[in-house]
């Protein structure tokens, strides 16, 4: 673990991204204290304004402060990103451990199931699930969580297969350890590195999918601010107030970029085979 922190500290990109991500997270957590206005409060007399000292990034068609909405939007994006990845990782880990360790019919059954989930373009499956459950933040989390289970299952299964025949597993069996103990105490620690890499890469994808669903009006529902929803609403006013499109796009790109670069860096550090050339 110490070598991980050392290598991490030497990787400038990783440190810079972590810094940005911490900033975004802090802004999201402390949104009520940082945001200059209530994100849903309408200042009727100052609609569709450009930047000013009152409204740093301008206002939207109802006179709501864009900066405040973007800060609250970070809350939504991070919450959906993290919690949906948590769902995918939890199910993926259990499925991957079972499939990899037990093999045989359990493996075939689980992996065929994953093949079926994999047979859909991500956004389409998420769309179908949201169509059935109805729009809203928690259904969006659930939909994105389900869509990403297969990739975690494959990652974990692969890692399990590479260690399950090694001596330490054999010796655990030899001293009579129970299956649950072998799975979670012996094998699982060897799965954490690829799991962490996969999780850090999956968050950006989850945020992308959330924003797309919200853009289509099926994700986070108004008046709650979400970056995708803001861009969708802004299209009608794009010539009057281009900032309504530009600023949420910038916020989203910076966040996703930071997660992507962070994920790549973590992979380079944890997985020597992927070290970028």
């Amino acid at each position: 673990m110490n070598t991980f922190i050392q290598r991490f500290a030497q990787n400038k990109t990783a440190v810079a991204c972590l810094f940005i991500l911490v900033l975004i997270t802090l802004a999201a957590v402390f949104a009520p204290f940082i945001a200059p206005h209530d994100p849903t409060q309408m200042f009727q007399e100052s609609r569709l304004q450009g930047s000013s000292s009152d409204y740093l990034l301008g206002t939207d068609q109802f006179g709501r402060d864009l900066l405040s909405r973007i800060i609250y939007g970070a809350r939504v994006s991070l919450w959906v990103g993290l919690s949906s990845v948590f769902i995918s990782a939890a199910f993926g880990t259990v499925f991957g451990l079972l499939a990899g360790y037990f093999g045989k019919w359990i493996d075939s059954l689980l992996m065929r199931l994953m093949d079926v989930l994999f047979a859909f373009p991500e956004i389409l499956l998420a769309l179908a699930i949201v169509a059935a459950l109805g729009p809203g933040t928690s259904n969006t989390i659930l939909a994105i969580g389900i869509v990403n289970i297969p990739i975690f299952t494959r990652t974990v299964r692969g890692a399990v297969l590479s260690v399950k025949n090694l001596e330490f597993v054999e010796s655990a069996k030899a001293i009579g350890a129970k299956t649950g103990r072998i799975l979670f105490r012996e094998i699982f620690p060897n799965v954490t590195a690829p799991l962490l890499v996969q999780a850090s890469l999956a968050i950006s994808g989850a945020i992308l999918t959330e924003s797309a669903l919200s853009f289509l009006g099926l994700g986070v529902q108004p008046p709650d601010p979400s970056w995708g929803g803001m861009i969708s609403e802004a299209r009608r006013y794009m010539e009057l107030a281009p900032g309504m499109i530009v600023w949420p796009s910038v916020a989203m790109t910076v966040t996703i970029l930071a997660f992507n670069l962070f994920g790549d860096a973590v992979r380079d550090i944890l997985d020597p085979r992927h070290r970028s050339k």
Binding site: R112, V116, L117, A119, P121, A131, A212, M252, K277
Partner: protein, 313 residues
């Protein structure tokens, strides 16, 4: 070769079966009664009952599934609750539009990405390489709807240009069709290019390190003979893989791009189905795209055996 393709097709049967079960299950998980949701709150109980009966919702789920499946086998995707028209002809009509758009986008994406990816690998660590990597990283980090909206914004603000709204057939009026499709296709192409560029670069970097490339260079071949003649085919497996996957994502992403640019393709049909709670339409459309995705993957596997004759199954 023929036997291999046949074997692959047979192995797809359980997947396709699974897909149909999944699509059916998801859209029958609708909380509440689909019939009363579709008809709204003012519907009389008789009307709801009649719709339930005509949709077969009063039957057990397994019966409903078998009935739907039986129809699918005969090319009957059911009828739209909203318009009362058969779903499959509408899907095919709209898929033609989506396919044109997707291919157009893919061609734009590939023709940017592959040459730049190769260049970036050949001139590794040069300023070109850095530029390509930064652009690619940005490209995978900006959502496609933001790219599309920003393109629209830029063109209308600075050039006062809007794409025409009416979709025309490419073969009838290529110029106008080009104008309609160019922005959405560029939007799709940018997202696709980013992924393909990254993959092309890393595949070439790996190949250019191999012994046979050193031999080819030692024989005195010039740079581009080595890169195109020797490295290209040996690097193409991962590139074809990602290209195939991306086609699938483009088909899924068409839902967003079509909505953004008001193009009446399959994606918009599905989306309208969702908005209007027209579940048979959603079910049919999602199933159709998933099947096309599976076929594209099959095609990719077949292309593998052509690229690398050592691949035997």
């Amino acid at each position: 070769m023929g036997r291999y393709i046949l074997k692959r097709i047979v192995s797809l049967i359980p997947i396709v079966f699974g897909i149909s079960v999944l699509v059916f299950t998801i859209l029958h998980l609708v909380p509440g009664d689909p019939a009363s949701i579709m008809l709204g709150t003012n519907a009389t109980p008789e009307a709801v009952k009649a719709l339930r009966q005509s949709m077969g919702l009063d039957q057990p789920l397994v019966t409903q599934y078998l009935h739907w499946m039986g129809g699918l086998m005969q090319g009957d995707f059911g009828v739209s609750v909203h318009t009362g028209q058969a779903i499959l002809p509408e899907i095919l009509k709209r898929f033609a539009i989506t396919l044109q758009l997707t291919l157009f986008g893919a061609i734009i994406g590939w023709s940017i990405a592959i040459p730049l990816g190769i260049l970036s690998a050949v001139r590794v660590h040069s300023s070109v390489d850095v530029l390509v990597r930064v652009t690619a990283m940005l490209g995978i980090s900006v959502p496609n709807f933001a790219i599309g909206t920003l393109l629209l914004l830029g063109l209308s603000l600075y050039f006062g240009w809007f794409p025409p709204i009416d979709v025309v057939n490419f073969w009838e009026n290529p110029v106008e069709a080009f104008q309609v499709f160019v922005l959405p296709a560029v939007t799709m192409g940018i997202v696709l290019a980013a992924g393909v560029m990254r993959m092309t670069r890393s595949a070439f970097l790996e190949t250019l390190d191999k012994d046979f490339i050193r031999t080819a260079r030692a024989k005195g071949n010039n740079q581009w003979t080595v890169v195109i003649g020797h490295a290209l085919r040996n690097s193409s497996i991962p590139i074809v893989t990602i290209a195939g996957m991306q086609i699938g994502y483009l088909l899924g992403g068409s839902v967003i791009v079509e909505q953004l640019f008001s193009i009446p393709g399959l994606g918009q049909y599905i989306l309208d189905g969702i908005y209007q709670r027209d579940y048979p339409v959603v079910q049919g459309g999602v199933l159709f795209i998933a099947l096309v995705f599976v076929l594209v993957n099959l095609l990719v596997d077949v292309i593998y055996t052509w690229i690398d004759p050592r691949i035997k199954y």
